[in-house]
């Protein structure tokens, strides 16, 4: 290894959450996002010598991450494990996500979750804290997959509206 962790780590940790969040917005399940981020982290570490100090680390890191994401998608498509997005659509989604504002933060989401009822928070917790599929949630609470998806969709609409209102206040 040629890079200095004391130089690399502060840059990397500042953007690590954003890099991971980007992968989630691009259609990867959390475990797949973990894997791609890990592969990208290796590449960032190994290629750190090509980074010019003082330039935009975020842009440099995203360029490498996007390449790794593309390669991951290609592997899945070849294995028949996913539906291919056409390249222009994938590129459009990636560029829009990188250019967008930061993802909603914990504090904002916690505030909005506080306005929901206990049952709604439990449903969201099963989905996001426990990472259960909607089918697994349905089995857990004695409902149907469709009903769970519909309920989650409505809850996310409520949360999105709440987050927009919060953003307007700041």
């Amino acid at each position: 290894m040629g890079a200095d962790p004391a130089v690399f780590l502060p840059l990397y940790t500042r953007h690590q959450g954003e890099l991971y969040g980007f992968l989630l917005t691009q259609g990867l399940a959390p475990d797949a996002a973990d894997d791609v981020l890990q592969e990208a982290s290796v590449a960032l570490w190994e290629d750190f010598g090509s980074y010019q100090p003082g330039t935009d680390f975020r842009a440099w890191a995203f360029a490498i991450l996007r390449f790794r994401l593309l390669r991951h998608r290609d592997q899945l498509v070849r294995a028949g494990r996913c539906l291919p997005l056409d390249p222009a659509t994938a590129e459009s989604l990636a560029a829009a996500s990188i250019a967008a504002d930061p993802l909603p933060g914990r504090d904002q989401i916690a505030t909005c979750l506080g306005s929901l009822g206990e049952h709604a928070r439990r449903l969201l917790s099963l989905r996001y804290d426990d990472g259960l599929s909607t089918a697994a949630i349905a089995a857990h609470i004695g409902s149907t997959d469709v009903a769970v998806r519909t309920r989650l969709s409505r809850l996310r609409a409520v949360l999105a509206d709440c987050l927009r209102r919060q953003e307007a206040l700041t």
Binding site: M1, P5, L9, P10, T13, R14, Q16, G17, F22, L24, T25, G27, L28, A29, P30, D31, A32, D34, D35, Q38, S41, V42, W45, R73, L76, R81, C82, L83, P84, L85, D86, T89, S92, L93, A96, S97, A100, L103, P104, G105, R106, D107, I109, L124, R127, Y128, D129, G131, L132, T134, D145, V146, R149, T150, L152, S153, R156, L159, A160, L163
Partner: protein, 153 residues
Amino acid sequence: MTLYPAIDAWFGGHPDDADRATQAQVLADLLAADPAARVAYLAQARLHAGMHLAAPTLRAAPRMLRFPLGTGVAVAAAAALALTTAAWWSTEASAPAPTRSITVAISGAADPGAVAIQSSRDVATSVDDGAVRVAGIDPRAATAIRWTALIQR
């Protein structure tokens, strides 16, 4: 499955579409055809991602940590992990303090294949075919373990 966030985010209101592969294909076609759909989808995907990042408690599902179990992984990993974990949490200044203090050490220098991960919490670990499986560990600690492995290898 790709387009993961879309499955229940975008199609939650379409009870007639029971087949997820069909749903994802419909969504892929829609995203390719309609810029407005891409904007709407991305808004949902961002909320979905934010929810995952904000998840405050442990995940129930076992997490697979894949890294080579070379000798470098086993040596001095604990110190690097502490540094990395501190750095990681320091970037989360607005987040609540971690509710669980997790101390992880990676040992096994005598036998690179016999890596043990110890934690202040009870976690289930196993080593099989060059991979370490850790169940019930904070996602941020899991990230730190991954990173530590990268530094040390």
